[in-house]
């Protein structure tokens, strides 16, 4: 805590500051937070490096307790944090309170994962004089913390994907110190959340910097061993290039947007078209369309007859404001670009905005299939969605092949009427997305063991997830020990298994 305060106090204002705004009014809220100077970035990264060995060496139950402690500290501050978040994001106290619960539950689930110990992936191969092609030494492998992790918090989930969100929770679970680059959209909440984390964790195990330059310096800092990023493709790719250009490149785990296609089969339109239209509009406008899992593309069979229903439902939605003026302006521009495409028709959009703050109306447009085949469709962050009609199953296949990778893909089908089509479409969607949803909606990402939030590029740059228990694997690396005497081995690898860890011994799982 002392260290963290010192960092905060000694921050030098360089070229700017983070100022929060109330999205409902567009007016500034709270004090501006100065951007972090180079010396303080260096100090935070070095403090993380110094804290790393002790954090890695903590017994698993103590590491789990740290995570529970963070969750409890956040819970204690609920009445302070939720209004603070609401003032800077306009997302509403009900949603934000639920998101805070999600954040604390996530920390507790990672604590359970740490206590379980299977995430260490302990493998022991005893020496084998008869092994082919040559006698084998004693080999013991486990996953160890990769080192200090830089986390770029997201703006759209000020709790669950920000300072104390999934990247931070999974990095701490892996045993890695974390330095967060705070999202400029909620600077006051970031500072306060950071103070709570720093107080609940050992000195150096948590740090925070503000400002783009500080974030860039963090990614390039020799003490940083990996990066977790949630944000825009442009920002993510610029930082990814920095990570790759280091003398020692480091893994850059990015989640950079997604189109999230929804496919509806002809039989599903016949059976429950209006219900699907209602669900789709609810999902694409949820949280004002500011979810990475927003279904941005609806693929309907030609002659679906749902356009009026989709438009009516969209018109009936009451939207909260967008998070920032930047997002509002990008949304307006993105919708304009959609509308400029040849053959595009507006299904619903109010052209004049009689709105305060960062509010916008939802936009639903119909785009020609040819445009998708040209690869011209991109995510438009905010309450916008595109409807594309397919003339045949063959054209649908072509459309799916032409789509970029997505975090999610959704299928509405009637398998009892069209079992082969449903099977085929599920397989196709699984090739282009990290999560495939059947007869449901992609928004709402459960935190659980089986969750996967990632997918083919550009949904993420790797075969890893940023949500769910396996997210911890991003921040671990394997080490094998050969013929090391038992007493000198890490406790997790000792023959007697004092911590009772699940492990694979001579090829067979135990525990």
């Amino acid at each position: 805590m002392a260290d963290y305060d010192a960092v905060m106090i000694s921050m030098q204002q360089d070229e700017g500051q983070d100022q929060g705004f109330d999205p409902r009014t567009g007016e500034p809220v709270g004090q501006p937070v100065p951007h972090t100077g180079s010396a303080d970035v260096d100090r935070a990264a070095r403090a993380a490096a110094e804290a790393a060995p002790a954090l890695a060496d903590l017994p698993l139950h103590a590491r789990a307790e740290l995570l529970r402690g963070v969750a409890a500290a956040l819970e204690s501050a609920r009445d302070e944090l939720v209004p603070l978040a609401d003032a800077e994001t306009g997302l509403g106290e009900a949603r934000l309170s639920g998101e805070l619960t999600r954040t604390t539950v996530q920390l507790e689930m990672f604590a359970d994962l740490v206590a379980d110990g299977s995430f260490l992936e302990v493998i022991i191969d005893h020496a084998d004089a008869s092994a082919r092609p040559a006698p084998r030494p004693d080999l013991r492998r486990m996953l160890v913390p990769i080192g200090p992790v830089a986390v770029f918090g997201a703006g759209n989930f000020p709790f669950a994907f920000s300072v104390a969100g999934g990247d931070t929770a999974s990095a701490l679970a892996a045993g890695c110190p974390v330095v967060v680059k705070a999202h400029p959209g909620h600077p006051g909440l970031s500072v306060r959340t950071g103070q709570i984390l720093a107080a609940a964790l050992p000195a150096g195990a948590f740090g925070m910097v503000h400002g783009l330059a500080a974030g860039q310096e963090l990614v390039s800092h020799p003490a940083i061993a990996a990066v977790g990023f949630t944000g825009s493709p442009a920002g993510g790719q610029a930082l990814m290039a920095l990570a790759a250009a280091r003398p020692e490149p480091i893994p850059f785990y990015a989640e950079m947007g997604s189109l999230n296609p929804t496919v509806v089969t002809p039989a599903a339109v016949d059976a429950r078209g209006e219900e699907i239209a209602r669900g789709f509009v609810g999902s694409y406008t949820m949280g004002s369309g500011q979810f990475c899992t927003k279904p941005g593309l609806l693929l309907l069979p030609a002659g679906h007859g749902l356009s009026d229903h989709l438009a009516e439902q969209s018109a009936a939605v009451t939207l909260g404001p967008l998070l920032s003026a930047r997002i509002r302006d990008a949304f307006t521009q993105g919708v304009a670009e959609l509308l400029s495409k040849p053959g595009t028709r507006v299904l619903h959009s109010t052209s004049t905005v009689d709105a305060q703050g960062f509010a916008v109306p939802p936009a639903l447009v119909a785009v020609d299939a040819a445009e998708v085949l040209r690869g011209g469709l991109q995510e438009c962050f905010g309450p916008a969605a595109v409807v594309v009609e397919y003339a045949s199953a063959a054209e649908l296949d072509e459309l799916l092949e032409a789509l970029p990778g997505s975090l999610t893909a959704t299928l509405h089908a009637q398998p009892e009427a069209e079992p082969e089509l449903a099977l085929d479409l599920l397989e196709r969607l699984g090739r282009r997305a990290g999560r495939v949803i059947f007869d449901g909606w992609p928004t709402g990402v459960a935190v659980s063991w089986a969750q996967h939030h990632g997918g083919p590029w550009p949904a993420t740059n790797s075969a890893h997830t940023s949500v769910g228990m396996t997210a911890v694997r991003r921040f671990q690396r394997p080490v094998a020990y050969q013929n090391v005497p038992d007493a000198l081995l890490p406790q997790a690898l000792r023959e007697a298994n004092p911590a009772g860890l699940p492990r694979r011994v001579d090829g067979a799982m135990h525990g």
Copy 2:
């Protein structure tokens, strides 16, 4: 087989060809293999993409049988392959016969891994209406094949790290088609091994290209989903940049050399200094020093008194020739660079080379600690090693901090006499290497579940291994299915678990 032959026959000679040479004489051996033209690279990559879905959908036992079939086919051709390899590499029939066994055993072990099924990492979370913070849908996650893999074979292990080596075996085990870029050092063996693989696998599941330009086109080809590379840092980093510059960047798993430090404590020098010196020389000259795990750096306490013994042992070694004129020239240049460093002393080197073909003498030089602290030490591929003296435990710590990451690090210590020092050094070495060896030597990499062949950059670019059973994880990606009816799920995820797979259900491991 038919497809493969067609590709081979239709190859267009572009700017060059791969010509094998006998390292013992330097004379050409076998017919030159023309470099693959763009059209044939495209054809091989497309064939792999077309083969991918069927290969992915094979039942696990059938996929395992494919791997066993490849192993059996290679075994059947042993009497042909070993002499062919020897003619092009000069590594000797005994070593090559052992390496072929290692290669077939590796394929069989991956077949066992496939049959075991745990590598699919099946996780099932049943729907839970009482889950916090919100009711949870049914979620089922597994790892699926990432898609066609480009494999860049290595020159120093013409069987085990080349056409049918670890990258190919693990990619096939993951269910991915493979296109190999053949190493130019053993073109005849590559072609023949490739024919055997193509004949043993479904059409399109295996392809091969020759030539640097063809390799570059492969990495950039949209059908390729991941790359496995073993080779030089310069070649690896150039290809890595291509992989990152694609419209859809792909994972690039590289193993690009390693210094492999060996630390000897004062007590170990006292107890068995000459034995350690003998072992070190045997290890750094094994295979003429052409192993990625060659111990290139020996850290000895000042006043160790082993220089004469190390020199005598080095002088007594009988070396086979290096693999190629290029490696010989790079070795000669690397030794010259070592000798040009201020304070460097020659412990053993024969200045005049009375050698045929690509033969060189071993080189052992003493370098000042200051040079290591400056970061001036790099791997010198071939039979060269560097001895550095440390004046104190504190200086040893500084030296270890200054070293680049390595595939391996070795400790010779006397823990009964110096338990804390041994523990501390093992921990330090574990931070800078993927495998830590105690009282042994890093050369000789057992293929087993617990093996790890990777490490902090530049030993590899990721937290993955290229040797051992977990190497398969590089070529898989997770997919989660949400609320998909049982009959529409991949078989591995169905409730009744028809294949009897190990899986985690609602947080607990089963099987």
